[in-house]
C-alpha cells in the first residue's frame, strides 16, 4: 500500500509563503508528477512529504496515518535526489545495502535484495565499484537501486534526470516508467520538464508560486488547461496567446485585435456570449494551426508574415508576426515556405482556448 494524502499543506519561510494550501489525494500505485517552474514550491512539497522539511500547517498522511511528526526514517519512503547523493566512500553494493543495514535486516536478505535490484537495473557488474568510477547514467541507476531495495511504500523523486544529458534522459525516462509498471509502488516525482511530466505521470500536478494550478491526467491538462499558465506550460512549443476583444456582428461572435479578425466557432461562441465587448485571451497551440486551403473557408483564419523558419525534419516551426503579436505554428514538413512569406493560416475550431484576460482562468 502507498496512499498519500495532503490536506491543507502550507509552508512559510519567514515571510515567504512557499507552499499555499495544497490538497491532494495520491492513490496507491499511482505515479504523480509535480511540475512547475523553479521556485514554485514543488520540491518543498516533496521534501515535506519526505519529512526533510517541517510543515507549517496541514496534515500529511500515508496509508491513513498522519506522519507530520514522524522522522524521515519512520515514514517508509525512499527518495532519489537530483545529484544522486551516493555515499562516495562506499561501494555500489554498500550504497544499496546501507538502508537495509540501518534497519537491521539479515545479511542473507540484504544480499538477496541488493542482487535482485542490481539485476532489474542492470548494474550487477559494478557492485564492487565506488560511485566516482561510474558514469552519470550508472550513478542514476545506483540511486534508483538504493531506493528499490527497501521496498518502500512510496518513492520520491526530486528531479532525478536533470543531471543527465539529453539522450540518456530520454532513455532513463522510459526505464523509470517500466520500473514503475513492474514494481507498482506509488511514486511522487518532481520535475521542471513538462515532457517528463506528460510521459511519466498518471496524473500531473502543475504548480506556480506555491499554488496548485491544476491536477489531472496528462491529456486532460493538454486539452483542457484550467488557466493560461497551465496552457502555456504544458506542450512544446508553447501555446500561442493573443489578447482579443469579443464583438458581435450579424448574430455571430468575432474576436478582434490589431492583426486578427476571426469568426469564433459556435462552440466557443457559446461560452463567450457574456463577454461581448470585453477583452479575453485567445489560445491556440502551434500544432493546431494549418496552412489555410480552399476547404478551410469556414474555419477561423488569419494572415501572418513569416519571420523565422525552423526546420526540424518531422515538422517545420514557423515564427510569425500577426498584427502586433507573434505566433508559432507547427506545420507539415512538405510545405515550402521562406522568411518574409505572407501566409494564411487556419485554426482547428474545436481546439481554440479562451481565457479571462484578468483572472487568466479558462472560460
Amino acid at each position: 500500500m502507498g496512499q498519500v494524502v495532503l490536506k491543507g499543506i502550507n509552508k512559510f519561510y519567514d515571510s515567504v509563503h512557499a507552499v499555499v494550501d495544497v490538497n491532494l489525494q495520491i492513490r496507491d500505485k499511482e505515479f504523480v508528477v509535480f511540475v512547475g517552474p523553479s521556485g514554485c514550491g514543488k520540491t518543498t512539497t516533496l521534501r515535506m512529504i519526505a519529512g526533510l522539511e517541517a510543515i507549517s500547517s496541514g496534515d500529511i498522511s500515508i496509508d491513513g496515518n498522519v506522519v507530520n511528526d514522524l522522522a524521515p526514517m519512520d515514514r517508509d519512503i525512499a527518495m532519489v535526489f537530483q545529484n544522486y547523493a551516493l555515499y562516495p566512500h562506499m561501494s555500489v553494493y554498500d550504497n544499496m545495502a546501507f538502508g537495509l543495514k540501518m534497519r537491521k535486516f539479515e545479511k542473507a536478505e540484504i544480499d538477496k535484495r541488493v542482487r535482485e535490484a542490481a539485476d532489474i537495473l542492470g548494474i550487477g557488474d559494478y557492485l564492487k565499484r565506488k560511485p566516482r568510477q561510474l558514469s552519470g547514467g550508472q550513478r542514476q541507476r545506483v540511486a534508483l537501486g538504493r531506493a528499490i531495495v527497501r521496498h518502500p511504500r512510496v518513492f520520491l523523486f526530486d528531479e532525478p534526470l536533470s543531471n543527465l544529458d539529453a539522450k540518456l534522459r530520454v532513455q532513463m525516462r522510459v526505464e523509470l516508467k517500466k520500473l514503475h509498471l513492474r514494481l507498482g509502488t506509488t511514486a511522487i516525482y518532481v520535475t521542471h520538464d513538462q515532457v517528463e511530466a506528460m510521459t511519466l505521470g498518471d496524473r500531473v500536478v502543475v504548480m506556480k508560486d506555491g499554488l496548485v494550478q491544476q491536477v489531472g491526467e496528462p491529456l486532460e491538462l493538454y486539452n483542457q488547461p484550467a488557466n493560461k499558465f497551465v496552457a502555456g506550460f504544458i506542450g512544446s512549443p508553447a501555446m500561442n496567446f493573443a489578447n482579443v476583444t469579443v464583438t458581435e456582428a450579424n448574430g455571430s461572435l468575432l474576436a478582434e485585435n490589431s492583426g486578427l479578425r476571426i469568426k469564433l466557432p459556435d462552440e466557443t461562441a457559446q461560452r463567450l456570449r457574456g463577454h461581448v465587448g470585453r477583452e479575453v485571451t485567445l489560445g491556440v497551440r502551434p500544432e493546431d494551426l494549418t496552412v489555410a486551403g480552399a476547404a478551410d473557408a469556414d474555419r477561423p483564419c488569419f494572415d501572418a508574415v513569416i519571420e523565422v523558419v525552423e526546420q526540424l525534419g518531422s515538422e517545420i516551426l514557423l515564427d510569425m508576426k500577426v498584427g502586433d503579436g507573434v505566433m508559432v505554428a507547427s506545420i507539415e514538413p512538405t510545405v515550402r515556405v521562406k522568411v518574409r512569406d505572407k501566409l494564411r493560416l487556419a485554426m482547428r475550431p474545436s481546439r481554440l482556448h479562451v481565457f479571462d484576460a484578468k483572472t487568466e482562468t479558462a472560460i
Binding site: 526533510l52 522522522a71 524521515p72 535526489f81
Partner: protein
C-alpha cells in the same frame, strides 16, 4: 603548465622552481651539515685556510650521542609527542563536533557563535599566556604535561572548528538527508556517512593541530620549568644555549630530530591532506 619550446619550460618553470627549492631547503641542509660536523670544524674562524662551511669530510654522530647521553632529549621528545597527541585528539573531537553543529544545525546565534570562535583564534598567544598562567597556577597544573594539554586546545579548537566547518559545508546536504531517509538517526548519519566523507578534512585539521602543538613555544616555556618536563623546542633552546654559548652541534641535531616526526606525519597523509585543503568531495 607552460606550453611551447623546451627552453621556455626551463627558463620559466624549472629554473625559478629550482631557485625556490634551493632557498627553501637550504636551512635544512645547514641543520643537517652542522649536526654531523665535529666541533673542531664548527668553531674554526672564517679566515682559516681550510675553512669550508658547506661540507665536511669527517662526519660524526657525536652531537646526537651528546644529545641523548648528556641531556634529557629523549624525555623531551616523549613529552612533546604525548602533549601534541593528546591536545590534538581533544581538539579534533571538539572541532569536528563543533564544526558539524555550526555548519549543519540551525540554532539561534549559530552564525555569531562561529564568528566568536574565530575571534578567539585571533587573540595572540603572547597576550593569552598571561591570564592562562594564572589559571594554570590556580589549578596546580604548572610543570605538568596537563598544563599544555589543556591550554593548547584554546587555540587548536577554534582552528579545527573553522577548518571542519568549511569542510562540512562542502559536503552535499543530500548525503545526510538520504542517510536519514535510509533509516539512520542524525548520529548514525554523521558517524557512517558524514565523518567518513570528511576524513581528508579531519586529517588535515589533525596534522595542522599536531604541528602547531609540536612547535608551540611560549606556553611551553612559561608553564614548564623543570628540565625533565620540557618539550623539544623549549628544551633544546634552554639547555643547549648556556649564557652566550651556543652548542651548535647538539642544537642542530636536536632541531633535526625534533622535526622528523612532523615530517613523517606530513608525508604519510600528504594526499588526503591536499584533498582536505582544496575541500573537494566527489560524489
Amino acid at each position: 603548465m607552460i606550453e611551447g619550446a623546451i627552453w621556455r619550460k626551463w627558463v620559466f618553470f624549472y629554473a625559478p622552481m629550482g631557485l625556490f627549492l634551493l632557498f627553501l631547503l637550504f636551512p635544512f641542509y645547514w641543520m643537517v651539515i652542522t649536526s654531523v660536523r665535529p666541533d673542531g670544524e664548527l668553531y674554526r674562524p672564517w679566515n682559516a685556510i681550510n675553512y669550508n662551511p658547506f661540507w665536511t669530510w669527517k662526519p660524526t654522530l657525536d652531537h646526537v650521542r651528546y644529545l641523548f647521553e648528556e641531556t634529557l632529549f629523549a624525555s623531551w621528545l616523549w613529552n612533546t609527542m604525548f602533549i601534541a597527541l593528546m591536545s590534538t585528539a581533544i581538539s579534533l573531537v571538539c572541532g569536528v563536533f563543533a564544526g558539524y553543529a555550526l555548519s549543519r544545525l540551525n540554532f539561534p546565534f549559530a552564525g555569531s557563535l562561529g564568528t566568536g570562535i574565530f575571534i578567539t583564534y585571533l587573540v595572540p598567544q603572547t597576550l593569552l599566556f598571561i591570564p592562562l598562567a594564572e589559571i594554570v597556577r590556580n589549578y596546580r597544573l604548572g610543570d605538568t604535561p596537563w598544563s599544555l594539554i589543556l591550554t593548547y586546545p584554546t587555540f587548536l579548537i577554534p582552528f579545527c572548528t573553522w577548518l571542519m566547518m568549511g569542510y562540512f559545508k562542502a559536503v552535499p546536504k543530500e548525503l545526510e538527508e538520504c542517510a536519514r531517509i535510509d533509516g539512520a538517526s542524525r548520529w548514525q548519519a554523521m558517524l557512517y556517512i558524514i565523518i567518513p566523507v570528511a576524513i581528508p578534512g579531519i586529517l588535515s585539521a589533525g596534522i595542522f593541530a599536531f604541528t602547531l602543538s609540536w612547535n608551540e613555544f611560549i606556553y611551553a616555556l612559561v608553564f614548564l620549568s623543570s628540565p625533565e618536563q620540557k618539550t623539544v623546542p623549549v628544551g633544546v633552546t634552554s639547555e643547549l644555549i648556556r649564557g652566550d654559548v651556543f652548542f651548535w652541534g647538539p642544537l642542530m641535531a636536536g632541531a633535526l630530530l625534533g622535526s622528523i616526526p612532523v615530517a613523517i606525519a606530513y608525508s604519510f597523509f600528504v594526499e588526503h591532506y591536499v584533498a582536505g585543503l582544496t575541500g573537494s568531495v566527489k560524489g
